[in-house]
Symmetry: C2
Subunit: 210 residues, 2 copies
Amino acid sequence: MGIAERRERQKAEIRELILDAAREIVGKEGLEGLTIRKIADAIEYAPGTIYLHFENRDAIARELVVSGFMELVGYMAPAAQESDPLKRLDAIGYAYAKFGIERPETYRTIFLQPPAISSALMELLKGEGEGTDDGRGPGEQAFNILAETVAELIDRGIFRPGNPVVIAETIWAWLHGIVALRVSCSEEMLTDFSASIHYAIEGVRRAFAR
Amino acid sequence: MGIAERRERQKAEIRELILDAAREIVGKEGLEGLTIRKIADAIEYAPGTIYLHFENRDAIARELVVSGFMELVGYMAPAAQESDPLKRLDAIGYAYAKFGIERPETYRTIFLQPPAISSALMELLKGEGEGTDDGRGPGEQAFNILAETVAELIDRGIFRPGNPVVIAETIWAWLHGIVALRVSCSEEMLTDFSASIHYAIEGVRRAFAR
DNA sequence: GTCTATAGGCTGATAGAC
DNA sequence: GTCTATCAGCCTATAGAC
């Protein structure tokens, strides 16, 4: 059975090869620039070979999005460990910004897509909780880290009363806005990223604190 | 010369016909879904005819983006008239949100594009000030309404001291984030838009006020 | 398991008839 | 000015040789 295992391993290797090549292409040209032929060229296989490892182009794109969300969850996980909710809120903000700036193309892949893709994508974000702690998708998981922190801040009377989900969404929007502008706009147009993030994170506290 | 004038008028009419059809297609399928053939089908002309009115596909896309920015400036113009800077700031925020929610596809066209398009697009945003008041592009024009308001608020001691451009950018990011999430996410995922905008606009004041 | 070859469909853009 | 016809190029996906 050593043979069967080696085969499994080799198959998984090519899968990863395909996904890595796909990530690079999407990084440069966006998800809509991803084609089977470009992947095949990059890994130096024939186009048809790709279909032995993935059902079709969309399956590859889907895989990329899911792994992108996992990456985001990975960035946010350390922040979630912080026990003081106010410090945790700050840490979440900085972790999110860090993800956006270190992995701009991943950010674009999961959050900045045309209408048709976006809607299909948001389904992934919610359902499909395979291998997760609680049956929720990775996107919802990441959001809940924020929402629960806001809820705790309200409970403790540190934040003014309000709907924690709406407030969390509003905070998320601020972070998203700053990262999205960075990712979309040319460098010279924008000024100071870290100042902007800093303003926003301090601003969130001032905006919602009691 | 009445004949020449009629010809001019007819030509302009078809131009508008093409642009309207293009807007509808982009609304449904995004800028990358725009093709010459789809436009031709929609206006019931042959594909080749389009090329008598526009140099190529990109020229049409560019025109769409420019007119989209003009629309945004149109939404913001009334807000810019408000003399009280604090009220003006609120009005700008609401006008921006209104634009995003009433014209989501225009919003997407001008602000949510893949990397290659985005960078080319941002050039338009800055330069090319044909027919504008002061030689600046329509994007910069819209931004300056906000930046100048922030500067005035700092000067009057209503806002804490700081770089008005960075602060304006941070405020813009918040609005952009809220609108962008609306435009990208499925309805059921998100909660209350007007509450979110309200939080943000009040939050901005609390975040930057002295 | 990987290749070559190919079907069938989309694209932008152009040439030439009318 | 508008048409039809067409080229050349890309795409996804599949069939069949090896």
